[in-house]
């Protein structure tokens, strides 16, 4: 089972009516691997994360997580569509951080971080608070634990959101353009936290990002998406230093010029 990658997209397609967002995607993410997904808007890169988080159903193919099918399950040696129970068991291994933070506005930073550990994992309140305090400390927000989201800056909200996701002890973390909604001066503090968890936690990380500098320095592999397909992938050095595909080159030129 450990030979299996942490995540496998096997012939996965996603369509909205006549529009094909992802076309027969095959992608493996190794254990502990850090993968960045880049590409123009509408290229399907966010959809990849949303399908993995089960926020979007897939139309074709199978999604595998940690050696088991997630969208399907084995029954008499055949893959059949998964039940909610099965999906929830597998989904427990995945955490996600969103572009728009999506903190629960009626709960404090601490409340956000202990909610699911208590209701979903069944932790005792004291245990959950201990775990959350550690994580809030890690993201540098111990002093803000009793603040409500509306009392926090965007960067602080996003760091709470990261702590909230980590409190569920996932094996895989998904980051969906997590700095895109932030004022420029707040981007650094969030990236700093992501670097830190990359170092300190044994996590498989998959991120959609527009921060090319960060993708270059942080990831083991970069995938360039274009029109619902992986157009080119390779090490950051290959993709940023010597892109082979014309589309990749055009995209990077456009982004670097703007940046």
């Amino acid at each position: 089972m450990n030979d299996m990658p942490m995540v496998r997209f096997e012939n996965v397609s996603k369509r909205y009516g006549a529009l094909t967002v992802l076309d027969n995607l095959n992608l493996d993410i190794g254990r502990g691997e850090k993968v960045s997904i880049i590409g123009p808007s509408g290229s399907g890169k966010t959809t990849v994360l949303r399908m993995l988080m089960t926020l979007e159903a897939i139309n074709d193919g199978v999604l595998w997580v940690d050696g088991e099918p997630m969208t399907h399950m084995m029954q008499n040696g055949k893959l059949v569509p998964a039940t909610t129970k099965h999906i929830r068991r597998i989904r427990a291994k995945i955490g996600m951080v969103f572009q728009s933070f999506n903190l629960f506005p009626h709960m404090t930073a601490m409340g956000n971080c202990i909610e699911a550990p208590i209701t979903v994992l069944g932790l005792k309140r004291s245990e959950a608070e201990e775990r959350a305090a550690e994580l809030l400390d890690m993201v540098g927000l111990s002093a803000k634990k009793d603040h409500y989201p509306s009392q926090l800056s965007g960067g602080q909200q996003q760091r709470v959101a990261i702590a909230r996701a980590l409190a569920m002890r996932p094996k895989i973390m998904l980051f969906d353009e997590v700095t895109s909604a932030l004022d420029p001066e707040l981007v650094g503090e969030v990236l700093q936290v992501i670097r830190k968890i990359g170092r300190e936690h044994d996590l498989t990380m998959l991120m959609v990002t527009h921060q090319m500098g960060f993708a270059k320095e942080f990831s083991d592999r970069v995938c360039f998406f274009y029109q619902g397909k992986i157009c080119e992938q390779g090490s950051p050095a290959e993709i940023f230093g010597n892109p082979k595909n014309e589309r990749t080159r055009q995209f990077l030129n456009a982004v670097l010029e703007a940046g």
Binding site: M53, T54, R91, F101, F104, P105, H106, E115, S150, Q157
Partner: protein, 242 residues
């Protein structure tokens, strides 16, 4: 500020009632009318509890129930919104006995008005649930919550804030529609007023006092809902959460 204004209005109304009852012509009617007012308040309170209960169940059933339950809920909502509250009262009080079901007039009053307002409330609750940002659902899924956990812990508490003002309207509607119960023999405020008016023909004092009493009850409801709204939105400032 809003609350201070409303409180001043309520104080003014109560003061006016007190001043008027200093006059013997008015004072004569006070004990009877107050008795009626108590019944009006009782029916309002119990009706409100039933309405909130029915609205929650009907809204959740309509949104998330299996098809037959959705049908049932829609049928309930449309029947009780689409027919007159007075006819509903008559039906429960005068028609049901024809089928061997005898209900106390007080029970009929609470049932009919609670079910009636609950049908309107169901749409209020449904709208408030649907208006909670999609990102809140998505974050709950990402934290692996079950549907019931999401609703109970994340969605309903936020929807609750949004539904307080429209519920305020419905509760006032309820206060006013309690006057219909005078037609099924219950001695509420309106019933008492009509009775006293018929026996004494003192139309001005009787109906002035009744008017002021209804106003005082409604203002109390409004103030209560405002306070609830203030409390619920504490710490919640919409808009900052992009």
């Amino acid at each position: 500020m809003w609350i201070r204004m409303l409180t001043a209005m309520l104080a003014g109304t109560l003061l006016l009632i007190a001043l008027l009852s200093a006059n013997a012509e008015y004072r004569l009617f006070m004990p009877g009318l107050l008795e009626g007012a108590v019944l009006t308040v009782e029916i309002t309170l119990l009706g409100a509890v039933l309405a909130v209960f029915m609205a929650l169940i009907a809204a959740l059933a309509k949104l998330y129930g299996p098809l037959p339950i959705r049908w049932l809920s829609t049928t309930y909502i449309e029947i009780f919104r689409g027919t007159s509250a007075l006819v509903q009262l008559f039906w429960l009080y005068f028609v049901l006995p024809q089928f061997g079901v005898f209900l106390d007039a007080f029970v009929v009053a609470v049932l009919a008005l609670g079910l009636n307002i609950g049908a309107y409330g169901a749409e209020v609750v449904r709208g408030a649930i649907v208006s909670v940002a999609r990102g809140q659902w998505e974050a709950s899924i990402a934290l692996n919550m079950s549907k019931a956990q999401m609703l109970r812990r994340i969605i309903l508490p936020q929807a609750f804030t949004a539904m307080i003002p429209p519920w305020g309207n419905l509760f006032i509607e309820l206060v006013k529609s309690t006057s219909l119960v005078s037609l099924i023999t219950l001695a509420d405020l309106t019933f008492k007023a009509q009775q006293m008016n018929q026996s004494t023909l003192k139309t001005v004092p009787v109906f002035t006092l009744v008017l002021l009493m209804y106003l005082a009850i409604s203002l109390t409801v409004t103030i209560g809902m405002r306070l609830l709204e203030q409390r619920a939105s504490r710490g919640l400032t919409r808009g900052r959460v992009a």
